[in-house]
């Protein structure tokens, strides 16, 4: 072999080895942790826990922020409180309404050290009426003051002696920094500083904000997080509006997890063998909104006819007639609310004030003129009878549910028909109250359904039915301010009764919600917030 040929062979060998090494290293690199992509129906507008107004915003803040106490998913799948930014929480043994909290040595995502002033300013922000925080009344009802006690000490004084197990839950409000971009944040966060923070926030959570585009928000892992360094490189929230498109993205590997799913999506995904599913009963419910401002639906008798006509179990065969995974509503709250959140206080659910009674429903429909209206052509819609609007994005579920309702109403001689609308048109119809009947889904409530008042308050922008009742307004205000269980039970039962009389909705049901994911480990869904264990999520291949 000549030198030239030997040299050529040597060069070739080196090149092969180099290519092989590159391929091996590339292979290793692809198996390392990467960002996990989560498909969501909508992106959070604001990432400020003080001012969140949508479920996705509340959930996303779990990725970015900590409370002094965090709600975590324990090994048995239950959501329980655990120390977060607090290193210790000590109840004063004399009056038992004072809690002394020592904060951990922790740093914000921008490098500044966490201090007691952050907690004090956070509380001030939550209770500032300008921020319209959903936690304001609850916190003010229980906490009288939050004060700094040295650099890392915080004194939280409750209005009355309170047991530790209840105080810890109150201390779960997320802590936001006192300083942002070198300046002190005002308590009123509705100005430009607050808006800037909500767009590009700084927290202490396991993920830190990296970037935002129209269709996605990118969060990087924060290795110094008090919950421990995340197992993944980060999380991407990617907006994919359509249910089918989200499923397709999961199956094609473009996303790792779907947080927003429909009740009938499971069969579609069960066919793909490697898709994992975890289900939970969300704090959410479906109902049929009645536009009470329309003359034919303005009488309580007409609305009672609608409520009494419906057999909820018969609405979507295969889903609503299951023995588990579905819970009916006979009023404004799911029937199991009391027995679920207060099992020590209740052994049975709400009394059903308007049980199904087809003959009575038919009679009421006749006497109220609803039946006669239904037999005429609708003013607004081409088909005869009452139009049941629903968003087309609900797909098969919307179609089957509206058909089921049409059939149930028909048995009571109330003529109705499904009216699928493009999502934007549907939203516009709800917003302008230009519908007759509309299927609605309300979600994102806390365990007590505290936010439900906004659906019924006379002046609320979220009052889609147009119901206006001074007595109900008063009851809702009392319930919103109730912090003692005795008062809360009294007010909740009173609201249930009054709403049953007014009947602005045909209450329907809650169904289990599914979270689908592929190739991930460490996922544990314990509540409406899928991100409780997000710092443990990791691609199975990267483990």
């Amino acid at each position: 072999m000549s030198d030239t040929r030997r040299r050529s062979s040597l060069i070739a060998c080196v090149a092969v080895l180099a290519i092989a090494a590159f391929l091996v290293l590339s292979s290793c690199a692809t198996k390392g942790p990467r960002r996990i992509v989560v498909a969501v129906q909508e992106l959070p507008l604001r990432l400020d826990p003080v001012r969140v107004s949508r479920p996705i915003e509340e959930n996303a803040c779990e990725l970015l922020f900590d409370g002094m106490v965090n709600v975590v998913a324990n090994d048995s799948g239950s959501a329980t409180p655990a120390l977060g930014l607090a290193e210790s929480i000590v109840q004063d043994q004399f009056d038992r309404s004072l809690y002394r909290i020592t904060l951990r040595k922790a740093a914000w995502h921008d490098g500044r050290q966490l201090c007691s002033g952050d907690v004090v300013s956070s509380f001030a922000a939550y209770v500032d009426p300008a921020n319209a925080s959903t936690r304001r009344e609850y916190l003010l009802g229980l906490v009288s003051s939050v004060e700094a006690d040295g650099e890392r000490g915080v004194l939280v004084r409750f209005r009355e002696p309170i047991a530790e197990f209840r105080a810890w839950y109150v201390l779960t409000f997320k802590i936001v920094p006192r300083e942002y971009r070198g300046t002190i944040m005002p308590a009123d966060r509705s100005g430009k500083e607050g808006e800037a923070f909500a767009v590009s926030p700084v927290g202490t959570g396991p993920f830190r904000f990296a970037s935002r585009r129209n269709s996605e928000i990118v969060l990087d892992s924060y290795p110094s997080a008090v919950r421990g360094a995340p197992a993944s490189r980060g999380i991407v929230l990617r907006r994919i509006v359509g249910s089918k498109e989200r499923i397709a993205a999961l199956l094609s590997g473009k996303v790792d997890l779907i947080a927003d799913t429909g009740p009938l999506d499971r069969p579609l995904l069960e066919r793909a063998g490697d898709v994992m599913v975890q289900s939970y009963m969300p704090q959410a419910f479906y109902s049929l909104a009645i536009n009470v401002r329309r003359s034919e639906l303005s009488s309580p008798e007409a609305r009672e006819a609608l409520v009494r006509a419906v057999d909820r179990a018969a609405l979507v065969p295969g889903l609503t007639d299951r023995s588990s995974g579905v819970e009916f509503c006979c009023g404004p709250f799911p029937d199991g609310l009391l027995t679920r959140v207060l099992p020590e206080y209740f052994r049975q659910g709400f009394p059903n004030r308007l049980p199904r009674a087809q003959a009575l429903a038919a009679h009421l429909a006749e006497t109220s003129g609803l039946a006669a209206y239904g037999r005429r052509s609708s003013d607004s819609f081409s088909e005869a009878g009452l139009a049941i609007a629903y968003p087309k994005s609900w797909g098969e579920f919307g179609a089957r549910l509206s058909l089921g309702l049409t059939a149930e109403l028909g048995e009571a001689h109330i003529v109705a028909h499904p009216s699928p609308l493009p999502d934007a048109d549907y939203a516009a119809a709800i917003g302008s109250r230009s519908f007759e009947l509309a299927l609605v889904y309300h979600e994102g409530y806390d365990n007590l359904y505290s936010g439900i008042s906004s659906l019924y308050r006379s002046s609320s922008p979220e009052n889609e039915t147009g119901i206006s009742d001074a007595q109900l307004d008063k009851l809702l205000a009392s319930r919103d301010g109730a912090v003692e269980v005795t008062d809360w039970i009294r007010d909740t039962l009173a609201v249930h009764d009054r709403v049953s009389v007014l009947a602005p909705y045909v209450p329907l049901f809650c169904v289990e919600k599914d979270i689908f994911y592929r190739g991930l480990s460490g996922v544990l869904i314990a509540s409406d917030n899928p991100f409780l264990t997000s710092e443990k999520w990791v691609q199975a291949a990267a483990e």
């Binding site: 530790e164 109730a482 809360w488």
Partner: protein, 434 residues
């Protein structure tokens, strides 16, 4: 004796002389002679003889004047003698009273009579001066003692402070009285009486203020009594427990009676509505003893009692009629279970929680009546594990779930032998998990 014999002889001679003269003198002359003779005797200290002489004065008016004077002086002298005797035997107060009783020395009807031939006035003055000085000294001592009592009103338990104030008031009143008794015989008495009276008035104001404070804090103090604990709970059998319960009941009833007495004695001290509220608060405590007694007798296999045995909602605000303290217990166990029991007092319809908090992380179970100890085969632990935080074990809605409010605590073994725990009742507040 010789003095009396010679006086009698003189009197006989004088009588003979007078008799012989009488034959020759007018009645006026005879009267004048008797007056002079009596005066001479009186001035010589023979008061009784003088009286007898003056008794012979024919002019009834004159006779009365002179004999009355002699009698008055004799009485004055006797009073002085009593004062002297009182000073030596009954003390200065009695002496001063006798001095006052003696009054002023009678005025002599004529210049020929030497006043106070027996020196009674001077003797009386000596008695008064000596007694006055002694009284002023006692007054100063009483005042000083009251000052000491006043200092004791500044600190200590409210009942002791009230007693000290009362003692100070009494002391100053006594001092003022003694100073006044001393009168002008002691130079400092006038100022002392005035000063002590002023101090007495101020002490009385303080006494009332303390009494009011005592009334207002009554329910708190009764709460303390209710929450008292026997010295040794380890050997507290049923008999001892019942006795302790009865004793506490008695203490509260006794205090209640005292409360009523004070309210009756000082009706303006506290608003009647408030007084009734406080009274009812203490009465309700007292009424609970029957419940405790019933529970002790009825409940079997219950373990040792937490103290206080019956607990209501915890509230440390002073004056709050609902105030209650934790039921506490201490023990030692490294293997097996220890059993404790107590009673919650939760009004029907109110959502309140019982929380058992331990000093360490040993396990705890809580059962309703009849399910503890050896009766435990159907026992159902009432602790909600979802809400367990740290070493606190909560029983939610305890009032509804514990029959007659009776609870049994099963304390499991821990790493260390000794442990302590508390049973506390809290209001049930709603918790939001989002």
């Amino acid at each position: 004796m010789a003095k009396y014999v010679s006086a009698t002889c003189i009197a006989i001679a004088i009588s003979l002389a007078i008799s012989s003269c009488a034959v020759f003198r007018s009645p006026a002359q005879r009267a004048q002679a008797l007056i002079e003779e009596g005066s001479r005797l009186f001035s010589a200290g023979y008061v009784a003889e003088a009286e007898r002489t003056w008794a012979g004065i024919p002019d009834s008016e004159k006779r009365e004047e002179y004999t009355a004077y002699a009698q008055a002086y004799s009485a004055y002298d006797a009073a002085v003698s009593r004062a002297e005797k009182a000073l030596s035997s009954a003390g200065p107060e009695a002496a001063m009273a006798a001095v006052s009783g003696a009054g002023a020395i009678p005025a002599a009807p004529t210049a020929v009579v030497a006043p106070d031939p027996l020196g009674a006035a001077a003797r009386l003055d000596r008695v008064a001066t000596t007694a006055g000085a002694a009284l002023a000294s006692r007054a100063a001592s009483a005042e000083s003692s009251a000052d000491g009592s006043l200092i004791k009103t500044r600190t200590g338990a409210i009942a002791d402070r009230v007693a000290a104030a009362s003692k100070a008031v009494d002391g100053y009143i006594e001092a003022a009285r003694l100073y006044r008794s001393a009168g002008d015989r002691a130079p400092e008495a006038g100022a002392g009486a005035s000063r002590s009276s002023s101090k007495a008035a101020k002490a009385e104001e303080l006494h009332k203020a303390l009494l009011k404070e005592s009334l207002v804090s009554f329910s708190d103090r009764m709460g303390e009594v209710f929450a008292r604990s026997p010295a040794d709970t380890k050997k507290l059998d049923d008999k001892a427990l019942l006795a302790f319960n009865a004793e506490t009941d008695s203490l509260i009833r006794h205090a209640l009676a005292e409360f009523d007495q004070v309210v009756a004695a000082y009706p303006d001290l506290i608003d009647p509505t408030k007084a009734e509220k406080l009274r009812l608060s203490a009465s309700s405590l007292s009424a609970r003893f029957a419940r405790i007694e019933g529970a002790i007798k009825a409940t079997k296999n219950r373990g040792r009692p937490v103290m206080p045995l019956l607990i209501g909602i915890f509230n440390p605000q002073p004056g709050d009629s609902q105030r209650s303290r934790p039921g506490s217990f201490t023990g030692s166990s490294v293997s097996g279970s220890d059993w404790w029991w107590g009673i919650v007092d939760i009004p029907k319809g109110l959502a309140q929680d019982l929380v058992i908090t331990m000093s360490d992380n040993r396990p705890v179970r809580v059962y309703a009546a009849g399910q503890g100890s050896s009766a435990g085969k159907t026992a159902s632990d009432l602790v909600n594990p979802l809400f367990k935080v740290g070493n606190s074990w909560p029983v939610l809605n305890a009032g509804e779930r514990l029959e007659n409010g009776i609870f049994h605590i099963e304390v499991g073994p821990g790493l260390s032998s000794s442990y302590s725990g508390e049973a506390v009742v809290y209001k049930s507040f709603v918790v939001r998990t989002r």
